[in-house]
Amino acid sequence: MQQAISFTPQFMASPIAEILWLIPAVPIVAAGVIALMKQPRRKAAATLAIGSLSFSLLLSLFAFGYVLSGWMSGVATREVVNFTWIQAGASQVDLGWVLDPLSAVMLVMVSLVGLLIFIYSTGYMEHDENYTRFFCFMSLFAGAMLGVVIANSLLLLFMCWELVGLTSYLLIGFWYQRPAASAAAKKAFLVTRVGDVFFLLGIVWLFSQTGTLLFYNHGGGSLEPLALAGLLAQPAALGLTAAGAIGLLIFAGAAGKSGQFPLHVWLPDAMEGPTPVSALIHAATMVAAGVYLIARVYPLMQAGALAGGTTTALTVVTWVGASTAVFASLIAVAQNDIKRILAYSTISQLGYMMAGLGMGGVAVGMFHLITHAFFKALLFMGAGSVIHGCNEEQDIRRMGGLRTKMPWTFGTYAVGMLALCGFPLLFSGFWSKDGILEAAQHWSVARTPLYLLVFGALLTAFYMTRQVAYVFFGRWKGGKSAHESPAVMTAPLAILAFFAIALGAIGTPAWPWFRAFLDGRATGFDMHGFAEPGLMALMGVSTLVVFLGLGLGWLPYGNRSPEPEEPDVLERAVPPLWAALRDRLYVDQFYGVTVIAFYAWWARVSDWLDRRVWGGAVAGVAWAFRLWAQLNRSLDNNIVDGSFDKGCEELTVSGGLLARVQTGRVQTYLRILALAVVALAAILIWSSRA
């Protein structure tokens, strides 16, 4: 669409890039300080966390502004600051951070959303007695996430990645008194581990191949043509090049974090954590980290692609993404827990992003990531506000009619919902999703992803309408009456709502500023962006789909609020399908009977081995020794002891004699000392005299 002149990349590190490390460092330090605080110091903790994060936000804005100004003046900023961490013989491990459009945009998003959610949580968590612990974990998470964003080294990224995983674990299990919460925490940790193992394998392989883990290092980085060429030359198993294989391994890690299809099971359960956590970690930032990772290593994924063509890795990414998108939104249809629905929709949106990355490139996926971050955070916080208002009620069937009770929440929630459904023209979700669909339309490999994604869009609109109808329309069915949340919670909602609408403006086909910014190309506003062949048709189709979804959702659920106990409309229509969907298509059960069962069996086996085999051996040895001991004792009593006692007596006698020397008088000792010295000296001199 634009004239494809690419800017000259520049490498000199500017002051702002030099101090980029402060952005993650400050919140982490703050977390450390908060960890040392006493529990009742609530205000201080909150202030510290918020203050540190707003500092990061400020710096991020500076960095972004710097990159932006560079872009305006025709420079594609990519400034790296590297340093050697470990110097082991010939090979050295470098760490470093990078400032380029990708990281800049991500920095601003993470710190902004994070800050809003921090402010929101001061309201949401105010009744919790572990307030300080919460903010400690939160700002630790924020720091780690920002670290992931700026990392210029796969290793540093992995460290922060694991740190993020850890904080996610801690925060999911924040209310560890609840068995469900702690179980969910464990599940999340283990499942993401599965992905991370592959990720680590990928890292090691990459290091062994290229000898460096830096992304960009003035031509010496692993993502730069030289290294990539080497990787392409290196064949791996089943017709893959090393580049492709490593890409797939890394993608496995990303899939684990971003809850892509086989590894998505932890994300819904993660909703056991406090809602701000779900909003920040499991909607806006951490789960997006996987997508960001793929975007970061895109050159690797894309390596060897022919012009406009694709690679195995990208194809896999696309298929997994697309299928996840539909799969998750299917499940979302039949959930009754307000946060679970959002969780599944998150999974499906992540699928969209992956698909967008796979088919359309970095910009497409990232754009959806950014917009989604805002409106999904908005939705989650809205849900949190609802839960807060309905005193910890999470089942949407026990709500209803809240639109009058909590108008602010309703309004903002509606904005978020429409953005998520991709309501035409007005909302950011529309443009970002439309970009993905467009990419799918032009994808050379297959058309199926396009159909999948469109179907997903339909389902999205459907289940969101269902949820909103359940929650906000009809009549109130809860116990105690609901109340609007405090301003400290609604204000962030309003801000996010604004972004959920406004962000769309930077990615319209007419003015694809975002894409141009990321790719480092100039751009301008021209309506011909819409004149793209098929674009109008596509937009028409998606608009149609959205309205269809809304309508389908509204018909059965709109304004008629069924009793909590009475079965759902669809359930009455097609019970088996409903059951399947409600039980999340039996994925968990499947894991239960395969993986977990296997582990349980293996544990039993090893237990048996311990008891019977090794235990038996040990017991035998012990018995033998006891026998031997018996023999010894008989020997001792009769032979040894007699002589030993005699010897002891002798010793005591002689000791008594020796003790006479110990007069306890210092001067005696000193005297003897001096005598000894004299003797020694005399001998020495005598010997040296000759």
């Binding site: 110990q662 007069t663 306890g664 008088r665 001096a674």
Partner: protein
Amino acid sequence: MTPLAGYLLVAALLFSIGLAGALTRRNAILVLIGIELMLNAANLNLIAFWRYGPHPEALTGMMFAIFSIAVAAAEAAVGLGLVISIHRHAHTTDLNLMNRMKG
């Protein structure tokens, strides 16, 4: 006889005097004094050797003496503190009466 030998002899004499005192006096403080004398004799040796040694500009002996002066000060402080506390417990500074460690 070279000057160095003279200094060394003086140092030896001082050392022996200090030793004799430390061996013969009853009062713990005086024993400490004797030890101080011995230390000083050693310092005198160090400085004499520094002065007449091959490399006076290397300052080795002088430094050694200075450090030993500093250490001796610390030793005196702690030693006298110990004597005082012993006196507080045993009400005597007579070493011959302090033989609790008798074997």
